[in-house]
Amino acid sequence: MKQEYTITVYTENQVGLLNRIAIIFSRRKINIESLNTSPSEAEGIHRFTIVINETEDVVRKLCRQIEKQVEVLKAYYNTNEEIIWQELALYKVPTDVITEKVKVERLLREFGARAVVIRKDYTIFETTGHREETEGLINALAPYDLIEFVRSARVAIIKASNGFHEKLKEFEAYEPAEELAENAFLNNQAEVFSM
């Protein structure tokens, strides 16, 4: 069954790596719903957050192909239940319209929005949350001459993750610890070895 998966990739910070990772998807004609790159908790290590809609089997294979790239340290995939995620959205609306027609205060409360800039000609709101939440505010603002809208890619934290500091030490060691190569077979041995 296809569902939304969030892939988290820890990498070196290197020119061209974005392309190397992106073509793993495009080669298989898989659309990337959202892609974000940022620094990670570990110094010098970059973190990609990629959202796609696929079956688990495909996502697992994609992660192996990603991990195979020389500059990738680790790729994880998670369902939405296993992560905390946010997207950030900005909305530009004419100030006169919203002061006249909408109760700004109600908007701010209802959608957890924040006014980032208030000028005579326009006001910019910001909201963060899940897709439904940021979309809710679009719908609310649409009748009031929404001038511009933009939404960021998803950023996500894996609930069960202990971060990358310890892992990085193992990667830096010449002989890595066994835990590094964690995988489906190890975690579900009983199911895998069904002889």
């Binding site: 010449y174 895998v192 002889m195």
Partner: protein, 578 residues
């Protein structure tokens, strides 16, 4: 792609302990044990060629006639020697001409380091003369690539390049060096080989528990079957593999690239897998109870229809590349790691057995294949010669000691099916990519990689015309390569498919050939054309005994087909004998 570079070059004045980027490239090669470079000069790589002028006694440079020929030669060199093939090309078209070879080396896991010239760094992105974004073009077909714009990067990036190319599952690496970096002088602190990259694990950790599970499965198996691929050759694990199969008594079949890892006449060698493989190995894949895949990747040409492939069997997969496990065939027990290390561990745990009855079953199928296909192919009663009988006579002359380089198509399948091999690294062919035009340049490279061995390139009349310009390379280097053209006056494999699956509508497969003897002679290469059976044996002896290169064209039956055959979309057990 030669160009004149008239631009004024900014070269910093050489200091006493400084060397140029170009020189650093060549120093890196020497430190890595490179002895041969295949290449073609041009504008953006001229500083490296200039530096090469002073290194000609340490580094042999083979001037090819086209960059594609250069990279295929590099591949042939790597495959016959087990070392890293090194290739030079200039920027722009020089670099794009490498792409086919990179794709070929990528899918066939061939270690290569390709160095391409690039325009000056300040011209990047300006659509400069012979500027092509080669790093992005080659990203999908390289294991790793990198663009150097500062000479200070050269030593450690080249060290990384060699390490990545040859370690783990080998593959091609491309390093693009801008012209300013080649010219730039910098403080050279010597060359240090790369042994570790923190984000790169060439070998997965071996897990004893998996090996125990695998041994348990093997020990309890009644009808186990081994499939082996090039992983054995790349891992230099031929002896470990032989010990393993001899202790377990399990029949073993090979993939196209696994050929020559086990001597052809080994009693447990039951033949070739896949579309044009042998009858028994294909049919019995769907009868075995435990399938042991070693250093192979379940290519679709091996598996046929996947949902009908070995569904009854438990699968043990030994591979160095974790991404291969479960990619095409669901594995019961994965054994990650270098098979040179995992095979001895496994051999220790398995009980010695002889699967006589099971092995006999393969022999029964072999007998049927002999009666229906092989006998007629090797001893034809037709007036026209068959490809098989040519290979048979070649075997009688080489005794299986030659390196056989094949191109792509019918002749490739026939040669793989019938050629005899006694030692490893003797079969060189374009497997995964199926690159026509591979054989002639690859044979040149193979000879440079293994100068003491006889190299025979077997090529069809289609493939040879794709890279025929490399006869010029043979002429100039005076390298000794035997070229055996099996001419059926058709693009035979496509014609065979058109006959079998497209109602004999022969669409553009009728290909004419030049007078190959005259062409060869024009390049100063001795040649002969054979049209009848009674000349064949003598001609092959003459070819092999001739001092220096020799081209032998053999006219074979126009509409002969390669059988057995697993038609596309069919299961391996639906293999056809006619």
């Amino acid at each position: 792609m030669e160009t004149l570079e008239l631009k004024e070059q900014t070269i910093t004045a050489p200091a006493t302990q400084s060397i140029s980027g170009s020189k650093a490239v060549l120093e890196a090669f020497i430190a890595e044990g490179v002895d041969t470079i295949f290449g073609y000069p041009g504008g953006a790589i001229m500083p490296i060629y200039d530096a090469l002028y002073d290194y000609h006694d340490q580094l042999k440079h083979v001037l090819v006639r086209h960059e594609q020929g250069g990279i295929h030669a590099g591949q042939g060199y790597a495959r016959s020697s087990g070392k890293v093939g090194v290739v030079f090309a200039t920027s722009g078209p020089g670099a794009t001409n490498l792409v086919t070879g990179l794709a070929d080396a990528m899918i066939d896991s061939t270690p290569l380091v390709c160095v391409t010239g690039q325009v000056f760094a300040h011209l990047l992105g300006t659509d400069a003369f012979q500027e092509v974004d080669v790093v992005n073009i080659t990203t999908p077909v390289t294991k790793w690539n990198y663009q150097i714009t500062d000479a200070n990067e050269i030593p450690h990036i080249l060290a990384k390049a060699f390490f990545i190319a040859k370690s783990g599952r080998p593959g091609p690496v491309l390093i693009d060096i801008s012209k300013n970096a080649q010219l730039q002088t910098f403080e050279y602190k010597g060359y240090q080989k790369c042994e570790h990259i923190r984000s790169y694990r060439p070998k997965p950790i071996i897990r004893k528990s998996y090996i125990e599970k695998a041994a348990e499965l093997i020990n309890s198996a009644q009808k186990p079957f081994i499939l082996f691929g090039q992983g054995i050759i790349l891992g230099r694990a031929e002896n470990e593999f032989k010990n393993f199969i001899e202790k377990t008594g399990i029949p073993a079949a090979w993939t196209l690239l696994g050929l020559s890892a086990l001597p052809t006449d080994h009693p447990q060698n039951v033949g070739m897998l896949g579309m044009h493989g042998n009858y028994g190995p294909n049919v019995l894949t769907n009868e075995c109870d435990v399938l042991i895949a070693i250093g192979m990747r379940f290519d679709d040409r091996v598996t046929g229809r996947l949902d009908k492939y070995a569904k009854q069997a438990k699968v043990i997969h030994l591979d160095i590349d974790p991404a291969e496990i479960d990619k095409n065939v669901k594995t019961t027990v994965p054994v990650w790691g270098d098979c040179k290390e995992t095979l001895p561990l496994l051999t220790e745990l398995v009980t010695a057995k002889k699967h006589t009855e099971w092995l006999n079953k393969f022999n029964e199928y072999k007998q049927k294949e002999l009666d229906v296909v092989i006998h007629n192919e090797l001893n034809p009663t037709t007036e026209q010669m068959t490809m098989g009988e040519v290979i048979k006579i070649l075997n009688q002359n080489t005794n299986g000691d030659a390196i056989i380089v094949t191109d792509v198509g019918q002749h490739q399948m026939v040669a793989s099916r019938y050629a005899k091999f006694n030692q490893s690294k003797s079969n060189i062919t374009s497997g995964g990519a199926g690159t026509m035009g591979f054989a002639l340049p690859a044979a040149i490279g193979a000879k440079f990689g293994a100068p003491s061995r006889t190299v025979v390139a077997i090529i069809g009349d289609g493939g040879v015309q794709m890279t025929i310009q490399e006869l010029g390379t043979i002429m100039q280097t005076e390298i000794n390569v035997k070229i055996l053209i099996l001419n059926n006056e058709f693009l035979g494999m496509v014609r065979q498919w058109q006959q079998l699956f497209h109602d004999k509508r022969y669409s553009f497969v009728d290909i004419q050939s030049p007078n190959y003897v005259m062409v060869a002679n024009a390049y100063g290469i001795a040649a002969q054309k054979v049209t009848s059976r009674n000349q064949l044996a003598d001609a092959i002896t003459t070819m092999l005994q001739h001092e220096g290169s020799y081209l032998l064209e053999v006219m074979v039956g126009k509409e002969n087909n390669v059988f057995p055959m697993v038609p596309q979309g069919c299961s391996v057990s639906e293999i056809r004998l006619s």
